[in-house]
């Protein structure tokens, strides 16, 4: 890994620094949709940060801006001390929809970023197989996306985001299409990868317990225009285990976040 990990990674110099970020989408009638308003956020290197907020509050918009595929209207975004100008090879992105290429096999889909970035083919194939077996999809390497369920496609999308061993992982509701059991397993796997590779993760979820379970920090957003209502530090010990879901500390965090939703008039 290059530039990102070379940057001095201390508490005082966060990996991502967002200030006064605004996003307006132009509409057909020459008006604007104010999607993001005055976003201030810094993400420490190696942190696991989750975002919760009502539907349409701009979570995907924020992730797309960080992925370098959407222009911001104003404000500054710095990643590893450098002004964000476009997509980066250090990034892995899981999109809200799986977005697989239907004419490629599952394995070939996972390899898309590796091909684009010219990574070693043999090594990447090996890694792709490992990732697929990690998400429970070994044996499906040569199937086509059309033959997979929505949840399986979403897991392929997760493998694709991890293939280039990104230093910074952006995940937009990666587990939305999964059943509760698979979801818990995937949560634990993700935490394992995160701890092993020391990546930084920014993950959007609609599940408040999931947000708390995974995170060092939970970012709570308000309805449109999306602002940051609060950033809650989660001090639960690591490594996180499933029984923690039932501890009183866990419940307190979940309640604190849920209150935001209720007062904002939006439900989870």
């Amino acid at each position: 890994m290059g530039a990102l990990s070379q940057a001095p990674a201390t508490e005082s110099s966060p990996l991502v620094r967002i200030s006064h970020l605004e996003k307006l989408y132009p509409t057909r009638d020459n008006g604007n949709v104010h999607a993001l308003s005055d976003i201030q956020l810094s993400i420490p290197d190696g942190a696991f940060v989750t975002i919760v907020g009502p539907s349409g509050c701009g979570k995907s918009t924020l992730l797309k801006i960080l992925a370098g595929i959407l222009d911001r209207s104003s404000g500054t975004v710095e990643i590893a001390g450098r002004n964000l100008e476009g997509p980066s090879k250090e990034l892995g992105v899981v999109f809200q929809a799986p977005v697989l290429l239907p004419w490629r096999t599952v394995l070939a889909n996972v390899l898309v970023p590796a091909e684009i970035q010219g990574l070693d083919p043999a090594q990447s194939r090996e890694r792709a197989r490992d990732l697929l077996s990690m998400v429970g999809l070994s044996g499906f390497e040569n199937k086509y996306p059309g033959e997979l369920s929505g949840g399986m496609q979403q897991r392929v999308g997760i493998c694709r985001a991890l293939i280039n061993e990104p230093a910074f992982l952006l995940m937009d509701e990666p587990f939305g299409a999964l059943d509760a059991m698979t979801r818990e397993t995937m949560n634990l796997e993700l935490l394992r990868i995160w701890q092993e590779k020391r990546t930084t993760v920014l993950l959007v979820t609609h599940s408040i317990p999931e947000a708390v379970f995974l995170a060092d920090k939970v970012v709570v957003m308000t309805p449109r225009p999306g602002r940051i209502a609060e950033v809650i530090d989660i001090d639960l010990p690591r490594p996180r285990t499933l029984p923690m879901f039932n501890t009183p500390e866990f419940g307190r965090h979940v309640d604190a976040i849920r209150r935001h939703f209720n007062s904002g008039g939006a439900l989870d």
């Binding site: 797309k64 992925a67 370098g68 595929i69 090879k89 999109f95 239907p102 059309g146 033959e147």
Partner: protein, 284 residues
Amino acid sequence: MTEIAAREASPPTVPAPALPAGKKKASWKESRLVSPSLLVIVLFLWEALVHLLGIPAIVLPPPSAVLVSLWDGIASGLFLPHFLVTVTEILSGFALGGGIGIILGILIGQSAFLERVIYPYVVAFQTVPKVAIAPIIVVWFGYGLSSKIIITATIAFFPVLANTIVGLQSVPREQLDMLRACTASNWQIFRMARLPQALPFIFVGLDIAIVLSVIGAIVGEFVGARAGLGYLILQKNFTFDMAGVFAILIILSLIGVGLHFCVMFVQRRVLFWADSNKNRITGA
């Protein structure tokens, strides 16, 4: 002649990729049974009417006479050289027109700017009836194969071009976002998403083009030729051999249907993923 002009003047411009849906497949079995029986009934009625009403053979030959003429033409070896000439014209014209259509489509499809600049001229050219410019092409390129190939190409290229352009622009924004997020170059995006995404559309264009190519070759031969099935139709017309004309029309239809199935066959091979993709979209 007017019918030919009418058919080529109204090209299906922006067809959705007509991929066989599950529904079509279900009725396919029944149609395989009903369709031939319908033909037999029509032929029988035709034969009966011609005999009952005493219609002269130079106005409308009975199917039996057409079949005899068809068999004679094949067995005597009369049709074969003309058949080969016409098929050569059709395939060469189709390849030339289809090739130009795809290449020009890719060039124009690259940018909205090029489309605005070039496409109006292409449409203007398309609105000129090819029957009307066929004589000019014969004057320029002579009575041989090349003039027919070029006439065929001018007719075949437009549906391929129009569909290529639409297809290249049909890439979902999510796919573009995904590839751009992986730092894909424009060429990589073209190769990995635009072109595969355009293929179903291109095949729709090719399928229309192959059928139009048969018409193109015959139009060319009508205007001026020394060989080919269209030339043979004119000959038979002069000698009032109506059964012979009908026999050749049957051969032309068979060529058209056969080539259409060839395109379909290749399409199914190349677009193996498209069908299950359809299911994915409706299932998601």
